[in-house]
């Protein structure tokens, strides 16, 4: 049974922050088309602070790190994504054992709590053209992988690719939640920015797991 060390968890967030930073204007541009042009700026602002906070915090447990990330995102991102990532990560933290290394099953379980928090806070379901269109199917996949023999790094690379595809798939959807919903039919034809940043999270996860 694979596990996840704190250093890998921090690496994941470091990578996520970098991916978002590099793609800040891509995310803003996607948001400009169907929202208010700030998703990249929002996530980038928060992730920069979160990584800063992680670096300044003594190593201890993944749970403490996750809580720090949740609190930081909650108080620096703002907007819809700030409330979602913030409350999600706080629930993620609460679901983790307080240890410097957790089992992969613990990690997946916490991710389940994260996705559940998003559902509760945001009320979005699959097909609503939000970040849930990445996280919901990814949750199914990652849970299935638990009983799989495929190596964890390889399956995470595959998941990252799938996440990218699910994000691409939001292009054809008509938004039902979030700011893009106000556009109705006009929202179709553009990728949801929050789904893309979510795909970056899985890309970061694959990268971190591959290094561990």
């Amino acid at each position: 049974m694979p596990s996840m060390k704190q250093v890998t968890f921090r690496d994941l967030w470091q990578r996520f922050a970098e991916l978002v930073h590099e793609n800040k204007s891509v995310l803003n541009d996607l948001d400009a088309a169907i929202g208010d042009a700030d998703h990249g700026s929002n996530m980038d602002r928060g992730l920069e602070k979160a990584v800063e906070a992680l670096n300044a915090s003594p190593e201890g447990s993944l749970r403490a790190d996750a809580k720090l990330i949740g609190m930081t995102l909650m108080s620096t991102v703002g907007g819809a994504s700030g409330a979602l990532w913030g409350s999600g990560m706080l629930k993620f933290a609460a679901a983790l054992p307080d240890a410097p290394e957790v089992t992969w099953a613990d990690f997946v379980n916490a991710l389940g709590a994260f996705v559940e928090a998003l559902s509760k806070r945001g009320q979005a379901v699959a097909g609503d053209k939000t970040m849930m269109d990445v996280f919901l199917p990814a949750m199914v996949e990652i849970q299935a992988q638990l009983s799989d023999e495929e190596s964890l790094p390889a399956s995470m690379v595959r998941l990252a690719d799938q996440a990218k595809a699910w994000s691409d798939g939001t292009r054809d959807l008509v938004a039902k939640r979030g700011r893009a919903a106000y556009l109705g039919e006009r929202s179709a034809g553009h990728i949801d920015p929050g789904s893309l940043s979510s795909a970056f999270w899985f890309e970061a996860l694959a990268g971190a797991v591959g290094q561990q």
Partner: protein, 334 residues
């Protein structure tokens, strides 16, 4: 992007301090937060009012902090709803023992962040209520989606709910009055140009020399459709008839109106719209009892305007006309 700023990430912080410089008799900044609260707080036992949202809508929202309107305004980054900790700081600043009403424009981000703040307030024993403003009729309401957006009509909620709180009404009453205002306002706007979100550095959308975006949101979100540019008469009529229909206004009803600049549109153009509005109102045999004309809820330097209609009854008319004294709106009663 050419803006009078120093750095993109200090805009809001600097602007908040600048507001206090410009309006020291009205505003103070709650230390370490992005909350501007009344310099002279309301008396104990009165309901507090908090509003806020992303920055870039000036004078909203800090411009409405003062006697007769808000007790505190919470500012997020430009066009980004404030975080729950900031909203909670606003709630604390506005609480004078009778609970706090949150006036929230219906955007997912605002709704969720204000909700989380309410959970924090709840844990601290501060009673809160929310009035959700969704006056933008450009966006079709639907049970299955997020509903309609909140735009300029929000200022009417601040004014009328604010007057009610000043009278000493209970939290439940102030909320009920706010909800009633929401049930009786409709707004819609259009853009002649896009605005540029500072963190993004370029216009959110591009419009041709003869194009407008009809039903645009106040964050540069697209509206219902690209239309060819129209005359002031046609633009005003286009909005007006939709508002009247939405509110199902019938002859002899009383209304207040707002002709709101999106930012760059000059006063003479608003005045031309106001002239058409008055004629249209007369044509529908309504009585136009009050017009607010100017910049009330802007979208940075966007050119364009929005029109709001509010159905009045005796009580709403009285509260709309009640004295208030804030940076952006002052009603002097004689």
């Amino acid at each position: 992007m050419k803006k009078i700023i120093d750095a993109v990430d200090t805009i809001v912080d600097q602007a908040l301090d600048g507001m206090v410089i410009a309006y020291p008799e009205y505003l103070q900044r709650v230390e370490g937060t992005s909350v501007l609260a009344r310099r002279v707080p309301k008396g104990t036992g009165k309901v507090g009012l908090v509003s806020g949202g992303g920055s870039g809508h000036e004078p909203a929202h800090a411009g409405y902090v003062g006697y007769g309107m808000l007790d505190a305004a919470v500012a997020g980054e430009v066009f980004t709803s404030p975080t729950p900790d900031q909203v909670y700081a606003g709630i604390k600043a506005a609480d004078h023992g009778a609970g706090v009403l949150l006036v929230v424009k219906n955007y997912t981000g605002d709704v969720m962040n204000f909700d989380i703040a309410r959970e924090l307030a709840d844990a601290d024993g501060i009673a809160t209520e929310v009035v959700l403003v969704n006056d933008d009729i450009a966006v079709q309401d639907s049970l299955y989606t997020t509903g309609r957006r909140g735009i300029a009509g929000t200022v009417f909620v601040h004014k009328i709910a604010g007057a009610t709180a000043e009278e000493g009404a209970s939290l439940a009453t102030v909320k009920a009055v706010g909800d009633e205002v929401v049930a009786n306002i409709a707004s819609m706007g259009f853009a002649l140009t896009s605005c540029t979100v500072p963190a993004n550095g370029k216009p959110t959308f591009e419009l041709g020399e003869n194009e407008i975006e009809m039903g645009v949101g106040i964050h540069g979100e697209p509206g219902i459709e690209r239309m060819p540019m129209m005359s002031a008469a046609d633009l005003t009529a286009f909005l007006y008839h939709r508002l009247v229909e939405e509110l199902a206004l019938v002859p002899n009803e009383r209304v207040a109106a707002m002709v709101n600049s999106m930012g760059a549109t000059p006063g003479i153009e608003l005045a031309i719209m106001a002239g058409h509005l008055a004629a249209l109102v007369k044509g529908s045999q309504l009585s136009l009892e009050k017009v607010l004309m100017g910049e009330f809820m802007t979208s940075l330097e966007m050119a364009g305007a929005s029109l709001t209609l509010l159905r009045l009854d005796d009580t709403r008319a009285r509260r709309l006309g009640a004295a208030c004294d804030t940076p952006a709106l002052r009603v002097v009663t004689h």
